[in-house]
Each structure stands twice: as structure tokens, then as C-alpha cells.
Subunit: 216 residues, 2 copies
């Protein structure tokens, strides 16, 4: 094994550097937004060199792209898997079941982790939908496959609604999810704890709220 670089380590250290940058960027963008986050703040907190960001990611915007991709891919994967399983079990899943499959993966981001950093990933995901362009569009690409699949499933569950009507109702449901993600950890948040039962209860309440609106 080659030993080079900052601490005399090889490519393992490279991976660590890359992930440390991603970790800090995720947290800072969640809190301050993309424009409010500087690379100097990121590398300072991450304990790495400023040039390392450009070496590993190329630019600030590409760093964001990598950050959102790392978060989005497993979430989208879990959402699509849950939807597939649902469609195999039932020929025509209910709106509630579909929305549950959509909400659980992102809200389970709130599970487990430590004290403060628990809700960072949820806040970051919420931030993706509230950022000015072109950041919002970059993030949207990563979640697009999931959105399309769930919109199609909802259309089958609600065949009486026109496509545009369903589309903006689904959009409002996503807005609700985003709000829940952004306020995670705050005093009046929907999700108060980080235990599995807290999440399940919150998902259940949100599904009820959304489904009522979508049928109306």
C-alpha cells in the first residue's frame, strides 16, 4: 500500500477526505443554503485543504451535485423498491399506501444518528426544493425518477382526476414533506423524536393529511 499525502496515507485517505467534504457540505448547505455556504467554511470544518475540493469535485457546483447525488440515490432507490413491492402485492394500491411508500424513505433519514447531526440529511433534502435556480434544478434531476413513478401510481389510484389536477396536488404533498424535513428538530416540528415509532406516527399523520387533500 502506498503512503502519501496529508497523513502519509494512500487512497483510503482520499476516500476519507472526499466523504468528510461531503459530510460538511451537506450540513452547511442544509443550514445556510448553497449561496450562503463557502468552500473555505467547508474545508475548515472538514479539516482538509481548500484545493482538495477542486481536486475531488472540480467546482463548488459540482460539489453540490455530488452531495445531493449521494443522498438522493438510496432514497430514490428505496422509494421505487417500496412502490414496486406495493404494486406486486396489490393490483390497485390505495392512495394512502402509495403516499406511505413515498414518505417513509426520506423520513427514515431522521432515524438513528447522533444528537445534532440527526436531521441534517432531511433538512438538506428539503433545502434542495427551496434553493434558487440553478441549484434546485440540479437537485430535481436526482429525484425525478421517483416523482414520475409515484405520479403514475397516483394517477391509477385516482383515475377520475385530470393529470394537471393530480400533478399540482402531488406537488402540494411534496411541499408538505419538504416543510416537515426543513423543520425537523425545531420546537414545533411534526416529528418530535427520532425513534421508529415517532417516525411511523408522523408518516401516518402526514399520509392522512395528504390523502384527504388529494381526494378532495
Amino acid at each position: 500500500m502506498q503512503f502519501t499525502g496529508r497523513n502519509g496515507m494512500g487512497s483510503t485517505a482520499s476516500v476519507e477526505t472526499k466523504e468528510q467534504i461531503l459530510d460538511v457540505a451537506e450540513r452547511m448547505i442544509a443550514e445556510r443554503g448553497f449561496a450562503g455556504t463557502t468552500l473555505r467554511n467547508v474545508v475548515s470544518q472538514a479539516g482538509v485543504n481548500l484545493a482538495a475540493v477542486h481536486y475531488h469535485f472540480g467546482s463548488k457546483e459540482e460539489l453540490f451535485r455530488a452531495t445531493v447525488a449521494r443522498l438522493a440515490r438510496p432514497v430514490v432507490e428505496q422509494e421505487l423498491a417500496a412502490l414496486r413491492q406495493l404494486q406486486q402485492e396489490q393490483t390497485s394500491p390505495s392512495v394512502e399506501a402509495i403516499l406511505t411508500a413515498f414518505l417513509e424513505p426520506p423520513l427514515k433519514l431522521l432515524l438513528g444518528a447522533e444528537e445534532q447531526s440527526r436531521m441534517v440529511r432531511a433538512q438538506f433534502m428539503g433545502r434542495c426544493r427551496t434553493e434558487p435556480e440553478p441549484i434546485q434544478s440540479i437537485a430535481a434531476q436526482e429525484f425525478d425518477a421517483s416523482l414520475q413513478a409515484f405520479l403514475e401510481a397516483l394517477q391509477q389510484a385516482l383515475p377520475d382526476q385530470s393529470r394537471p389536477q393530480l400533478q399540482w396536488k402531488f406537488d402540494l404533498a411534496i411541499a408538505i414533506l419538504v416543510r416537515v424535513q426543513m423543520e425537523a428538530g425545531q420546537p414545533n416540528a411534526v416529528i418530535q423524536g427520532s425513534q421508529p415509532e415517532d417516525i411511523q406516527q408522523a408518516v401516518s399523520q402526514l399520509v392522512t393529511f395528504m390523502a384527504a387533500g388529494m381526494r378532495s
Copy 2:
């Protein structure tokens, strides 16, 4: 009358300068957010001098405070007036009536004005709730009186729901409003036109969506 300054005008020009700065700041913050908006971009578009911003407002943050205050005060005033009138006409207004009084003033911002600048104020108002701190808190102060009054009214209309429960449901209703404001003018927006009947129809649909969720 004294004639001084840029175009040999007096205090009238001062007022014009101040409002031109506010107009452009409103539009740019709506599009790019606070951190993404530079004073140099603002003064360039407004056709005024950079120093004028600091002379009239003191700092970038104070400019934002003035911008949100100019927009929020009439909106809050109209909301509170509509609520008062509603409470005088009926002893116990419905959830739908309360939500209508809450939605109409901000959504009527979309009425009338010209081609592009029509949805700027709505987008700015939506942006206020999606900005990172401390901007979001500064904006929240301006809308706080309205929020408290409507929360109290909703509590009377839904006495069976606990305060925390009602609070986060109202919070989700606001998230829906914010999303509608942010997407104003986009292809899949809830509000497609800028005619009074378009707004009324959108308000009606949103109230139905929100009320269904709040009762659930």
C-alpha cells in the same frame, strides 16, 4: 423647492430612489434569494448609486427588512381585517371561511400588474419562509400578528384538536401557500392566469385541500 442630487431633484427624487431600490431588491431576492443577491446587482438594475443603499437603508440586511415590511404590512392588514369582518358576521366561522380569509390577500398579489413582474411579490413572500436564518426570522416577525390571530380562530373552529396538533397542521397549510406562491408563473402552477376568477378558483381549491387535511 430645493433642487439637488442626481437629476437636480429634491426629496421627491429621494423617495423615488428608495422605492426603485426596494422594487429591484424585491424582484432579485424573490429570484435569487438574499445571499444570492448583491447590492451591486440591485443598484445596477435600479439605476442608482451603490452608496444610496447604505444612505437610505444602512446595510444589506436592513434593506431586506424594509423590503419585507413594505410587502407584509398591507397583506397582514388585509388578512386581519378579513378575519375581523368574518368574526362579526358569524359567531363561529367555519375552517373554510377562516382559511379563505387567510389565503385571499397574499394570492391577490398575483392580480393586475404587468407581464413579468406579476408574481414577483408572491414569490418574494414565499422566499421569506424558505430563506436560511437569520433572514427567515426577520421576515417572520412581519407576519407574526396574522399567524397568531388565525391560529386562535382555527382553534375555536376546531376545539377538539390539541394546540400542538393544530399548530403543525396550520404550519403545513402555510407550507402549501408558500409553494403556490413560489411556483407562481411556472408551467405546472396551481394558478394559471392572473384574472380575478382564476385567483378565486385557486383559493377555493386550496381551501378545500387544506381544510380536508386540517379536519383529518
